[in-house]
Symmetry: C2
């Protein structure tokens, strides 16, 4: 197929810098060890922004990496919300 | 939820500059008129790279915009492949 690569920088801004720090620390190991032959991930943090980079060979690998990233961030935020409410 | 925004730059490189030109011209109207209250899209081209920007308020709006973009690019490439093979 005519597609050579998909490279993307994704900047997820959270409301609170504290939340960004917690989410970043909790998902960083997942991001850096995510097993994929066809895509590479990187993660950084800048205050309340979590910065991801995805380098993928095709759209399937890109979509899979992106879905993983979004899922990790959303799960972490959901857990944080429960903790703040004292539910866990 | 703790998420404020998702902003991403996506660079899709195609094998041929000619393909990038055709795909860019064919999907640009879709990208610029895509109806969404919760995300904004932009598209540019640089030789054989098509450059997208998504600014979304939440992960659902982001995912919807991204899926549309990937679908438009893949459909355009599939049609190009069929045309080159003389099937259409």
């Amino acid at each position: 197929m005519g597609l050579e690569s998909i490279i993307s920088d994704i900047e997820i801004s959270l409301n609170l810098e504290k939340d960004a720090e917690i989410v970043y620390k909790s998902i960083k190991p997942e991001v850096l060890t995510a097993p994929s032959q066809r895509s590479k991930l990187n993660i950084k943090r800048d205050k309340k922004k979590i910065l991801f980079k995805i380098i993928a060979e095709d759209s399937h690998a890109y979509r899979a990496s992106l879905n993983s990233i979004l899922r990790w961030v959303i799960i972490s935020l959901d857990i944080l919300k429960l903790m703040k409410r004292g539910d866990i």
